[in-house]
């Protein structure tokens, strides 16, 4: 009986001890270096940041107060045989909740990316480690219009739309934007209004859909949306002729393949079916992580059909 009691006590003690077990999901810290470099295709000012990974006590990474950006690096971008060395400087931080107002960054005001140019990035860290990458600047695109002037075919079909299309040989992401420029006699200056691509009714509520970033090589603007935008310009004003429509302008931002992949990996797949548990963020940085990409802006003025504009009571010229 004594042995049995001893056995029982041992079993209970084993179970009691084994009820819980300390578990740490963290493994020894691993230092990695990151480069974020997006070269702007229509600007002289380029900014590149270099940062390192960090660790914190516990599991709240926002408790980290030591800025991860690495100053003192040599950052160079080579285009068509010319090497542009970026200046090691401090710039204003957009989010100051964790770190100070300034962040270490590398700036160039000389590099003007050329269409279809190959760019080579080389970052030499203070310890001598080198991170590198390449990318190709996307070209400016030729935008084709469904009709030569917005509103030209407005009265010919019920509903209808105005469509812009463009060709691009590679995999890019596109961000189109259509704006109308106008003046009004009562408020000086040129005003703009963005045109949505369409309206959608969801649960009896009208939802305005603006052009989204995407892979489509076309963008359609429903005339219902254009009509509504034009009407909205003079909402509440009886005398429509005090408004003058100057022009419409389409701006098409084109992310190169690397930026497109990075964007997709951070913001969601552009695919048929997405399942992710652990995020796999795209990188094209050799020796580290991050992205080196470029984008290009195509701007084009679009004409309005005079009769179409006049039908709203606006002046054209």
């Amino acid at each position: 009986m004594r042995y049995f009691a001893l056995f029982l006590i041992s079993v209970m003690a084993f179970f009691n001890l084994s009820c819980d077990e300390v578990f740490a999901p963290k493994i020894p810290f691993e230092e990695q270096n990151f480069v974020y470099a997006s070269i702007k295709g229509d600007s002289l000012k380029q900014i590149i940041t270099v940062a390192r990974s960090y660790d914190v006590e516990g599991f709240n990474p926002k408790s980290n107060s030591s800025a991860p950006e690495i100053p003192g690096c040599i950052v160079e971008v080579k285009q068509a045989g010319v090497t542009y060395r970026f200046r090691d400087t401090l710039i204003e931080r957009t989010d100051t909740s964790r770190y100070g107002n300034k962040m270490a960054a590398y700036v160039s005001t000389e590099l003007v990316p050329q269409q279809n140019a190959d760019l080579q990035l080389k970052v030499t860290l203070p310890g001598g480690k080198v991170l590198s990458s390449i990318t190709r600047v996307p070209p400016k695109l030729f935008i084709k219009k469904s009709v030569f002037a917005i509103g030209y075919d407005r009265g010919k079909t019920l509903g209808g739309s105005y469509t812009l299309t463009w060709d691009a040989p590679d995999l890019y992401l596109y961000v189109p934007k259509l704006e109308i420029f106008y003046t009004r006699d009562d408020i000086p200056g040129t005003h703009t209004v963005e045109v949505p691509s369409r309206y959608r009714v969801v649960n009896k509520q009208v939802e305005i859909i603006y052009p989204q970033i995407g892979i489509n090589r076309w963008m359609t603007f429903d005339y219902a949306a254009i009509d509504s935008t034009l009407k909205k310009i003079s909402d509440g004003i009886e005398e429509k002729s005090t408004f003058r429509i100057l022009r419409a302008e389409v701006r098409l931002l084109v992310y190169d393949t690397n930026l497109a992949k990075y964007y997709s990996s951070v913001n969601g797949y552009l695919d048929r079916y997405s399942v992710r548990l652990d995020e796999n963020v795209f990188t094209n940085i050799n020796g580290g992580l991050g992205v080196f990409g470029a984008y290009m802006l195509t701007k084009e003025i679009l004409l309005f059909d005079l009769d179409y504009v006049a039908s709203f009571g606006y002046r054209v010229r």
Binding site: F15, N16, S18, C19, E21, F23, P25, K26, I27, P28, F29, E30, Q32, F34, Y36, A37, S38, K40, S43, K45, I47, T49, R52, S53, Y54, D55, F59, N60, P61, N64, P68, I91, T94, L171, V175, V202, N203, I215, T257, A260, K261, Y263, S264, S265, V266, N267, G268, Y269, L270, D271, R272, Y273, V275, R276, L277, D278, N280, V281, V291, Y295
Partner: protein, 743 residues
């Protein structure tokens, strides 16, 4: 030359004469073994003619066939565990088939004589490997979570692992969960789970037996790489009408069965009424589950209509819903429907055939309502027609042949994150023939050799044409069987799911996309069964499984030009050891499995999330007093793999391109992960105990069951929240009870 030719002719003539005389002097005994109480077939009964040293085992229909018996009056001994052994006299007539149908009387006709259902000795004579036959009693002996469940009973089988208490999904010897087929009377169930995988849709009330093939399955089985679970449903009582009603803390169910002219019927139904009980198992305590399942089976056999022909009509329907009645939450709907017909025929010659038609549909749908989720819908329709033939030679060897047609249609409707709709539809025909020969003539060596022939495939790319299978069992002594199994397998219907997901709600089935090859596997299994005594059995099996062309999520898909899926390879190997002590009023079973499983993708090899290195299962049951029975299960397994946090970094989020550009943008903290699945969670162990009592009250039979899960409240980790480091544990200590009344 002439002398040689003449000698040959004389030899051949003599051989023919001897064969003729021999065949003239023997007869054949065949028939069906049934249970005397309800008339249903008795599987694996042992039918012996001791004087002839000949015998056979009854098959799933209860059918047995013993050829080559010398004429005269013979004593036939029929035995099976759980039944009173029966001795019968039968007269064998030369050149005739004598039919002897036998009704066995259960040894537990009174409740005081409840016995433990143990291991069946006749399996020593079968050349199959890695097969388990699990009767209903064994399923019920596992302490129930909410109620008895066949898939939870599987988890204590050696080589079967799981990723948690929360899911009934199982993994067999290192294979993925979609590599397991769950079939009801031969019809595939595409969604065998209720309540997000918490338990099986198959109500135990309808089960007669589970046939569980863990690998190396013979050539009549195919279409999956890892395992086949065939649920053989009960026939229904052929002698009297019986009704049962049962209630657990989650659902209520009824079943009705009874005789019809020339046969029997069985109808079972189950409906959830208290989702709160289910929600205890889940992280999402607010999930409003609603489900039902319904099955029926009709058996008909009438010699005046068709002699020795048995017709079965069966159906199975299940439906699961999560309806929030809140437009800000997603709703889910899953539906299975199966209708089938079976014709089993014993012909005048030693030929039997089985023809079946089944029509199965599965619909899974995600309705996003006003959430940011996207609508998804998966529809599978499967019309299958199978025809199997078995011819038994006088030598007892068997020739099996079959022809299977499956018209498959899979539809998947998806909307991506950018609102673009996609439909992936695939219609095709799987046409498979198989041929196999079972060498059963030798007492000590049994061989099953055959092949499947993939004549046509629903997938664009075809699996290999031949899938050879070879199983051999050598019994050097009546208590020892040494087994070997080798086979090739293919699978062209897969689920598009991420195995890394903890709970996967929507797992659509599709035919392998055109740009991918069907998955293929090769199994090598060697093992032994040893009966130390009549009631103590040891078994040991070692396996190696090589898998190629697995269809896996492309985790590096960044653009629409990247494929959704890529091919991965895998391999697993290990050893399963088990012992089984089965006595009249107690049993004790145990198993230990050592397993290694790896997947390789993109040149990188890693353990999948279900890779379990060591696992131990112990199960005991004891009928200790007046129908009271206590059962206990203790399970242990080493921790599952996970990917550790190696640090953090500030991830650049591309800002609104029209407001602020440059690299400044916004930076948000993100995890820096270590090597994939290189770490292990703490080990898992749990003790469950159930106490049950059967008794009669007036004209009813009542079964009471009280279960205590996780008796010592082990904190088994399910997952940890990376954002906070918080751990989410699996089931805590949880009592439950169920009541069953049979009239």
């Amino acid at each position: 030359m002439t002398i040689t030719t003449s000698a040959t002719r004389i030899f051949l003539f003599n051989l023919l004469m001897v064969s003729y005389l021999f065949s003239q002097s023997t007869g054949t005994l065949r028939g069906f073994v049934t249970d005397s109480t309800h008339g249903g077939s008795v599987i694996s009964a042992n039918i012996r003619i001791e004087s002839e040293k000949k015998g056979a085992s009854s098959d799933i229909q209860g059918y047995y066939f013993i050829p080559g018996i010398k004429p005269g009056v013979k004593t036939v001994i029929v035995s099976n565990i759980g039944y009173v052994t029966k001795e019968l006299q039968v007269t064998i007539t030369p050149e005739k088939i004598t039919q002897l149908n036998i009704a066995l009387v259960p040894s537990s006709l009174t409740l005081d004589e409840v016995s433990i259902t143990g291991t069946r000795r006749p399996e020593l004579t079968d050349p199959s490997i890695s097969i388990e036959q699990i009767p209903l009693e064994q399923i019920k002996s596992v302490p129930a979570g909410v109620e008895a469940d066949m898939l939870r009973a599987l988890k204590i089988s050696p080589g079967v692992t799981s990723t948690g208490d929360i899911t009934a999904r199982y993994y067999v010897r290192g294979g993925g969960s979609d590599q397991n087929a769950v079939m009801v009377n031969g019809a595939v169930l595409y969604n065998p789970f209720h309540a997000l995988g918490l338990f099986s849709v198959v109500d135990p009330e309808m089960i007669k037996m589970l046939e569980f093939f863990k690998g190396g399955f013979t050539s009549e089985w195919g279409g999956r790489l890892s395992s086949i679970l065939n649920v053989v449903t009960r026939d229904g009582n052929k002698n009297r009408f019986v009704g049962t009603a049962a209630a657990s803390s989650m659902s209520g169910k009824v079943s009705v069965e009874g005789p019809i002219p020339g046969g029997s019927f069985l109808v079972t139904g189950r409906k959830s009424y208290r989702p709160e009980a289910v929600q205890k198992f889940l992280n999402n305590r607010a999930a409003p589950f609603d489900f039902y399942d319904l099955s029926f089976k009709l058996n008909y056999s009438n010699p005046e209509f068709y002699e020795n022909g048995w017709f079965t009509f069966h159906g199975f329907f299940s439906d699961d819903k999560i309806e929030n009645n809140d437009p800000t939450k997603e709703d889910y709907k899953f539906n299975n429907s199966t209708l089938g017909m079976n014709w089993y025929q014993v012909w005048a010659s030693p030929l039997s055939s089985n023809m079946s038609f089944t029509y199965t549909t599965f619909v899974g749908e995600v309705m996003p309502n006003l959430t940011t989720s996207k609508p998804r819908k998966n529809v599978v329709t499967d019309f299958s027609s199978n025809w199997d033939f078995t011819y038994i030679f006088e030598s007892r060897d068997e020739l099996w042949a079959g022809f299977y047609n499956k018209i498959l249609n899979t539809e998947l409707k998806l909307t991506n994150l950018f609102g673009s709709k996609t439909e992936i539809d695939k219609r095709g025909l799987d046409m498979v023939a198989y041929l196999k020969y079972k060498v059963l003539r030798h007492e000590t060596v049994k061989i099953d050799i055959g092949t499947r022939l993939n004549i046509a495939s629903a997938s664009e790319q075809k699996p290999f044409f031949l899938e050879p299978r070879f199983n051999i069992t050598w019994t050097p002594a009546p208590i020892l069987a040494i087994r070997l199994g080798i086979g090739r397998f293919s699978q062209n219907l897969v689920t598009l799911s991420n195995e890394e997901e903890l709970i996967s709600i929507f797992e659509p089935w599709v035919v392998v996309p055109d740009y991918l090859k069907p998955a293929q596997a090769t199994h090598f299994i060697v093992g032994a069964d040893y009966y130390f005594t009549e009631w103590l059995k040891f078994s040991l099996e070692a396996y190696y499984k090589d898998i190629v062309n697995l269809v896996d999520i492309n985790e590096l898909k960044y653009t629409n030009l990247d494929p959704d899926f890529v091919q991965a390879d895998g391999r697993s190997y290990g050893v399963d050891f088990a012992f089984d002590i089965s006595r009249q009023n107690y049993f004790f079973k145990g198993s230990y499995s050592l397993g290694y499983s790896f997947k390789s993708k993109g040149g990188f090899e890693f353990p999948p999330r279900y890779d379990t290195r060591h696992s131990i299962n112990l199960q005991a049951g004891w009928i200790f007093y007046d129908g009271w029975q206590i059962n206990a299960v203790w399970r242990f397994s080493t921790g599952l793999p996970f990917t550790g946090i190696a640090g953090y970094y500030d991830k650049w989020n591309i800002p609104d391109p029209w407001s602020q550009w440059y690299a400044i943008g916004q930076y948000d903290p993100a995890f820096l992960y270590g090597a994939r699945n290189a770490q292990r969670l703490p080990s898992y162990h749990r003790l469950d105990i159930s106490l049950s009592k059967s008794f009669r009250l007036f004209f009813t039979k009542i079964d009471l069951d009280v279960s205590l899960l996780n008796v010592y409240d082990r904190h088994n980790i399910f997952y940890f929240v990376r954002d906070t480091g918080e751990r989410v544990d699996m089931l805590p200590f949880l009592p439950s009870a169920s009541l069953r009344i049979e009239i």
